[in-house]
């Protein structure tokens, strides 16, 4: 009872490639990965594609199906129209190795940079005692199957290679959150570290990561926002700040994110994180930009290839500031969980590339 369906699959390697058309038989109950396997067994034996468990548990078969980042094994063919052409492309944020396989080593590098669990010094193995309610918060994040779809969809690094050094991405923010919420983790600086070294401030909470998570982890609401809020709590509590000043209590290295810069706005961590790549350039207008103000115009130009940048683009507007040059609100008082999206709050992600309408305000200015 199979029917013939149209597929377009990206074939190529790091030197380039293009979409190839295939007509494949599809049977009832099949998923996209089945179709790829059928192609391998028939007309495209060398079609490269990662997979392992085929049950949505290992996170290997991440790909972009009709532009949406998904797991091939969890995308049922019945979700498409019979006549619909299904387009399968590799993850865009990572360099292509061949066909649907990309070089995801970025994620493993970030994993290595994220400080590991610190066991409590005075608790022997077997004596760990924790309540179910307390472990459940971290357990949500430990459901992560490391498919890296959240990393792939995150617009801080999607098309912005230059942000990669300073930005760990949603996967590792929830790793930090998981350890922060771990009842027995001995380190107390997980949030500050996320802010100062992992680029948490780059995130402006557009929730794309949550949307694509196949494990339905509430990455933004339960992981990133609490981390951001807690950093804010600490930095804005004058008593804590004073105590830290006087008793030098914070175990955290004194960075701009933790030493209580009076000028530090809520999201200044973004500019701070960007400073690694940018020589500390000040970016009042870049604070709320989606990339934290570390644009490199050469990379920008490269990313623009394939997008029609000659059509009319609405001019970016600077945020309204008060008399002190500050935004009149913080994440704590704003009615949304974050600053307004530079794309407009009514835009959902991922955007089809042809609808992209964002350009960095200073992209054409000379470097300083």
């Amino acid at each position: 009872m199979g029917s013939k369906r149209q597929f377009r699959i990206w074939r190529g390697d790091e030197t380039g490639g293009d979409l190839k058309d295939y007509t494949v038989e599809v049977n009832e109950g099949e998923v996209v990965l089945d179709v790829i396997h059928r192609l391998q067994a028939t007309e495209a034996p060398d079609l490269a594609c990662r997979w392992n468990c085929k049950a949505g548990k290992c996170g290997s078969c991440s790909m972009e199906i009709n532009g949406k980042p998904r797991l091939g094994c969890m995308t049922r063919m019945s979700t498409f129209e019979e006549s619909e052409t299904v387009t399968v492309t590799p993850l865009r944020t990572f360099p292509v190795i061949r066909d649907l396989v990309t070089d995801v080593s970025f994620n493993y590098e970030k994993a290595r940079e994220t400080p590991a669990f610190a066991p409590p010094a005075d608790v022997a193995p077997g004596d760990y005692r924790m309540q179910q309610v307390d472990v459940e918060r971290s357990q949500e994040f430990r459901k992560c199957i490391e498919c890296f779809l959240c990393q792939n969809v995150c617009h801080v690094i999607r098309d912005h290679d230059e942000n990669k050094p300073a930005f760990s991405g949603p996967r590792y923010f929830i790793r930090a959150a998981e350890l922060d919420m771990h009842p027995l983790d001995a380190r107390t600086d997980r949030r500050e570290y996320a802010q100062s070294d992992m680029g948490l401030g780059f995130c402006n909470i557009t929730k794309c990561c949550t949307e694509v998570c196949p494990e339905h982890i509430k990455i933004t609401d339960n992981g990133i926002i609490p981390m951001k809020e807690r950093v804010v709590d600490r930095r804005y509590d004058p008593l804590v700040w004073l105590g830290n000043k006087i008793f030098r209590r914070g175990q955290v290295p004194q960075t701009s994110a933790t030493s209580g810069h009076s000028s530090g706005a809520v999201t200044s961590g973004g500019a701070h994180g960007g400073a690694h790549a940018h020589g500390g350039g000040s970016h009042a207008g870049g604070v709320h930009s989606h990339a934290g103000g570390s644009h490199d115009s050469a990379a920008e130009r490269q990313a623009q290839q394939g997008v029609n940048w000659h059509r009319e683009v609405p001019h970016p507007t600077a945020p309204a500031v008060d008399a002190n040059g500050k935004l009149p609100l913080t994440e704590l008082t704003f009615n949304k969980a974050a600053a307004p999206s530079p794309f407009g709050d009514d835009v959902t992600f991922p955007l089809p590339p042809e609808h992209l309408n964002f350009a960095h305000p200073q992209q054409d200015e000379p470097k300083h």
Binding site: D46, P125, R129
Partner: protein
């Protein structure tokens, strides 16, 4: 061949396989100060261990304080029908709790009891609630924890030596095709990077095999593509021996619909949490299939079985929780007798027994798996399930204490599914995760000790490397042979149809003939395309391993004239005590598989004394029983 570029690395210990056993072995070798490489066939953290759902069995006694290692040992031996290597079962039962507690110091977060300890759940074949678990994704927790422990060791090394890779390095998407020997000693391992197709040579005096199982030789399997018996075949070719290869576990409950997910596992916890098996007539049929050896431990009425979930001390267990081989056979015969579902399985019903909310909380990943893969809401309708090839009990014959491979080779270790003996003829659910930890640690530690004892480092011979290169490139250079996908399909048909759950002499002999034909075709396989991430080429190289391991299974299955655990002969339907004391050992004689009989090691008196005479009488020969009686008499005097 001199123009072929080969990357060279020097390590003290090379661990092949990055699942639970491999990672635990690598951690141990690194903790012993050895420079350690981990070879992973797929990306780091994707190994098949993530598929384990139920939990890790360890007699911590957190839920029922009557549990202890002796009870666990007894359950394991019983489950394996007394064919287990008793020493491995003993070590496993004794050390499993420490290995689980150790995971907590690495950051694992198991589900908790009310008093804050690690919660433990019921599982088939285990007398008490014993499985440490995290919802139904325990395997993921285990692999992630070990992965993160390795990262933490790398961070220590970075501080000390300035490089993450100073003492432990992960080679992801790398396949080993040959072990290289210096005389009878392991000298290294040769393979290729899947991504680039470039060759890589590891020079190392000790190799730990932790490559998992062989399920990809079967049509309906819960195993991923990685499970091609690489470690089994590498060991054979290096002069090691395999035991118990006739014993394959068919998990009783794999999904049978839709066809694309056929084989994917439905965790046993569904049954542990109250799910029942029904045939197309709506009958709860498992009560008809309780074998005599288990009669005493299992409920006879539905009422008693249902009471057990809340009052396990005063009621006997529901027969749905019989060991896996029994349940798989029961389902098989229900379907055969025409009482199966349209898709050829039976119904597994939890919807009518638990509230929707409770199902979603207790079995979250099952709920999602069915919702998203099959569009079935398990809180509303029953699942359709049937047996699927799940686990191979057989594997590399090892020294129980050290994990060192027997046979003619030195410096080769094996742990986890690739090793044999621990589980006898049938593995209990939950025993594999703890097996990985217990014997992974042992193998890694002993491999490290072995390298300390060496006075000279074994050397890799140039000729052997050249031969390995030639073998690896051959499928790409031929264009006259068959497609590897076709050959794999044909192999799966032979194994699934002729060496499956129920076996017959004639069919097994037929399988041997067909495997011999396949061997010739596999020798001429050709792969289209280049070396860069070419799945066709990868499969062509794996086929050789799948084939030799399948030959071992078919040959041993033909030889063993009885039914026991994961080996069921229609022509010899009963267990035969004479066969209980025999292991079938496979080795390579040139290219051909040679099969020999070897007596099982004799259980120590204090261990055999843990069993009732009445129970032993079902398994032991008269002579063995007489010996047991003499022992008890001696003890009483």
């Amino acid at each position: 061949m001199t123009e072929t570029r080969i990357e060279r690395h020097h390590y003290d210990v090379v661990v092949i396989g990055a699942g639970g056993a491999g990672l635990r072995a690598a951690i141990e070798a690194r903790l012993a100060g050895k420079k350690t490489a981990i070879i992973s066939k797929s990306l780091f953290g994707k190994a098949h261990t993530v598929m384990a759902e139920g939990g890790a069995a360890a007699a911590m006694g957190n839920v029922n304080s009557r549990d202890n290692w002796q009870v666990h040992f007894r359950d394991t031996m019983r489950g394996g029908k007394f064919l287990n290597n008793f020493r491995m079962a003993e070590l496993h039962a004794k050390e499993a709790p420490q290995r689980i507690w150790e995971l907590e110091t690495y950051g694992a977060l198991f589900d908790r009891t009310k008093d804050g300890k690690i919660s433990q759940r019921n599982f088939g074949g285990h007398e008490y609630p014993r499985l440490a678990h995290v919802g139904d994704r325990t395997g993921l927790e285990l692999i992630r924890t070990l992965q993160q422990k390795i990262v933490s060791l790398q961070q220590e090394d970075k501080q000390e030596f300035g490089s993450y890779d100073a003492r432990i390095r992960v080679f992801s998407e790398t396949t080993i095709t040959e072990l290289l020997l210096d005389g009878d000693r392991v000298a290294g391992a040769f393979g290729y990077y899947r991504e680039s197709g470039e060759f890589v040579l590891f020079e190392a005096p000790a190799v730990v095999l932790a490559t998992g199982g062989v399920g990809r030789s079967y049509k309906v399997t819960s195993n991923s593509w990685e499970y091609t018996g690489d470690g089994h075949a590498l060991a054979l070719r290096a002069g090691a021996t395999l035991i118990n290869m006739e014993f394959l576990q068919f998990h009783p409950t794999g999904m049978v619909w839709p066809p694309s997910v056929k084989g994917i596992l439905v965790t046993e916890s569904v049954r542990g949490d109250g799910g029942v098996l029904k045939n197309s007539e709506g009958k709860r049929f498992m009560f008809d299939y309780v074998p005599d050896v288990f009669r005493k431990q299992y409920a006879e009425t539905e009422e008693e079985a249902d009471r057990w979930y809340t009052d396990p001390d005063n009621n006997r267990r529901p027969p749905e929780l019989l060991p896996r081989d029994e349940v798989a056979r029961a389902i098989n015969s229900e379907v055969k007798e025409g009482r199966g579902t349209p898709a050829g399985g039976v119904y597994l019903d939890i919807a009518s027994r638990k509230s929707a909310e409770e199902i979603r909380r207790r079995l979250p990943s099952m709920y999602h798996q069915f919702k998203e893969l099959a569009d079935v809401d398990i809180t509303k309708e029953p699942m359709e399930v049937g047996p699927t090839c799940h686990y191979v009990m057989g594997g590399v014959e090892v020294d129980p204490d050290s994990g060192a491979a027997f046979g003619t080779v030195r410096g080769l270790y094996a742990a986890g599914e690739v090793s044999g003996g621990m589980h006898g003829s049938n593995r209990l659910g939950g025993n594999s995760l703890s097996d990985l930890l217990v014997f992974g640690k042992r193998a890694g530690g002993h491999a490290a000790t072995y390298t300390d004892q060496l006075t000279t480092r074994p050397a890799v011979s140039v000729a052997a490397v050249e031969a390995a290169v030639e073998t690896a490139l051959a499928p790409l250079q031929r264009d006259t042979g068959e497609s590897p996908y076709q050959l794999q399909q044909d192999l799966q048909v032979v194994m699934g149809d002729l060496v499956g759950i129920i076996r017959r002499e004639g069919e097994l002999a037929d399988a041997m003939r067909r495997l011999a034909e396949l061997r010739e075709r596999v020798a001429k396989v050709s792969a289209a395309g280049g070396r860069r991430y070419n799945p066709g080429w990868h499969l062509a190289l794996d086929l050789r391993n799948m084939l030799v391991v399948s030959e071992c299974t078919a040959k041993a299955a033909l030889e063993r004239q009885e039914s026991r655990g994961g080996h069921t002969r229609e022509d010899y339907p009963a267990m035969d005590p004479k066969w209980r004391s025999v292991n079938l050992v496979c080795s390579l004689d040139g290219d051909a598989v040679r099969l020999t009989h070897k007596p099982l090691p004799k259980m120590r008196p204090e261990l055999i004394g843990l069993f009732d005479r009445a129970e032993l009488a079902k398994y032991l020969t008269d002579e063995e029983l007489a010996e047991f009686d003499a022992l008890t008499e001696e003890a009483n005097n």
